[in-house]
Symmetry: C2
Subunit: 332 residues, 2 copies
């Protein structure tokens, strides 16, 4: 490993995974941590527990802000485990001189998003550090959720499963990038930043039985699918033409040489489920605003265990690799 920490080690892709497994998983090893996915399962499978820090820049972006993001990030991790978000803690690190009014807006936004999840903040911590010690404000939220359906896991993806995506991909990454670089677009791209619990709740209530769910955050759809491939020893095969990508996101990708599959999302998730449930799940997802583009994007095979296959419209196919390199720092 490098002598010093690099930006690539925070990318949600290959280098990030290496840093975590070598520096944190080894010295802190225990059974629950080893099995933890989006959240850890504790208390005999009754509760899920997770944490996320937020350093996004800019603090306010099209479609959200750091307050909304800090609730979506943690509550979505719980939702992906089939857990109803219940209790959150809030850690705030403020830079001396930060505008009080901006902080008020952030807390209001955070509060609104909590309501969408039916969750509450039960404890907090506020630190103020001298000017220059932190850039504006960083947040941490940790969350406890009540597991309603047990056993939803990256390791339960089976050959034959259908793979769905809840909406068009890459919006959060594209919005942050455009916002940061001041790229003017005829129709500005908005982040997908949203709480997923309402959709997950609807799916579960209507009897859908997902084998795995994953919100495609840092590292995008490519990372999420790569983790399933590895954890289940299967081969997710995706039809490139079926992947919903908005014209705005496609434009930014073309302009800057990004892959939409590596761009971060903050309100978009993947489902692996029995093929017989796919069309009903799709119908449920599409009821939600923003999810009109939900799609069946492929299926799981055992052809290349541990690898993700991307099939082009011309009948060719290639492996979709885990993203590497710097990607976008401070995306969340």
């Amino acid at each position: 490993m490098n002598r010093t920490i690099t930006l690539a080690q925070g990318n949600g892709g290959e280098e990030n995974r290496e840093l975590i497994s070598r520096l944190f998983f080894k010295p802190l090893a225990n059974e629950i941590l080893e099995r933890a996915e989006d959240a850890a399962v504790i208390e005999e499978g009754r509760l899920a527990f997770t944490t996320d820090s937020f350093t996004v820049s800019p603090l306010f972006f099209p479609g959200g802000d750091i307050g909304k993001l800090s609730v979506c990030g943690t509550c979505n991790d719980l939702a992906m485990m089939g857990a109803r978000p219940k209790y959150l803690t809030l850690g705030v690190i403020l830079e001396e001189g930060f505008e009080t009014q901006a902080l008020e807006r952030i807390v209001e936004s955070l509060s609104r998003e909590l309501n969408r999840n039916g969750a509450i903040v039960v404890a907090g911590d506020t630190k103020v550090v001298p000017k220059g010690s932190v850039d504006g404000v960083f947040l941490n939220t940790s969350g406890i959720g009540e597991i309603l359906v047990e056993g939803i896991s990256a390791s339960r993806v089976c050959p034959g499963d259908a793979i769905l995506v809840s909406r068009d991909i890459g919006r959060h990454g594209a919005a942050i990038f455009a916002g940061r670089e001041g790229i003017e677009l005829s129709s500005a791209v908005e982040s997908d930043c949203a709480s997923l619990w309402p959709m997950v709740e609807a799916l579960l209530k209507e009897g859908i039985t997902p084998h795995a769910m994953r919100d495609a955050t840092r590292g995008g759809v490519a990372s999420a699918l790569g983790e399933w491939a590895e954890a289940s020893g299967v081969s997710p095969e995706i039809d490139e033409g079926a992947l919903p990508v908005s014209a705005e996101v496609a434009g930014i990708c073309e302009m800057l040489g990004f892959e939409a599959t590596a761009l971060a999302n903050e309100g978009t998730f993947l489902l692996a489920l029995p093929p017989g449930e796919a069309s009903r799940a799709l119908e449920i997802l599409r009821r939600f605003e923003g999810n009109e583009s939900a799609a069946i994007i492929g299926e799981v095979t055992d052809r290349y265990p541990g690898r993700v296959v991307l099939r082009s419209s011309w009948g060719t196919s290639r492996f979709l690799e885990m993203p590497t390199g710097e990607l976008l720092p401070r995306i969340c």
Copy 2:
């Protein structure tokens, strides 16, 4: 409130409490948050849940480092609620260019301290931000504890209660200050940074029934007693001469005009308990290394409800106020 955030608003004293109550408690209001003390009580009184962010500078200080501190801080908050620390999450924000080896040392230290508590890290999050966006490394730990004795609370302090302190006060604040300013002392002062659960467990096992416990962190003993006075509407009366202060800490206070009662501690706690249990509790506390100076420092009356009284050795007395002003930024 000020237009921008000030360092004083992170002091653990008066301004900090105002910021929290106006900016966070109002928009996020709920019954559990309102009743939360060192930790929130959730799941019908079975679990305690808390969070803490750590921004201490320097990262390595006499008696500890940010890794050890991040476990002590959160586990001690749980212990003060009569809860056995069980599960922690770990959020890490790293500055690009931070030394990998320093991070390894921090994680090892954190791991050792976890063992002292019998707790484990079950989930984590790692972010890397560009150089200049954060100073080195900031940590967040959130923790869940199993409440073994219910009802230990700042609001249960009664007239007649004895007040104990577990060891000499002000060490952490003095050590950080001396370390930061490069003050050379013939015998360097070490932080009291330590896990309190082993002591609390011993007290509870031997039948001690504390009404309230409080680790005297930011804002020191003065803040902790002030909170009891306010929450219980009583008057803690403290004998100045009984307050254990080491010669090193007293020296630093004299040199710099600090009050030892306003200096932060990270392994020192106050107990309010029935007077008949005081000498036995003292005997139990003194069994632990570092706690040889544990002392009965006063008792609770109803003379000045909501105020803390400091009695001098000459028979005079004054109110001990909640600390105000900048105190020491980045103390924890």
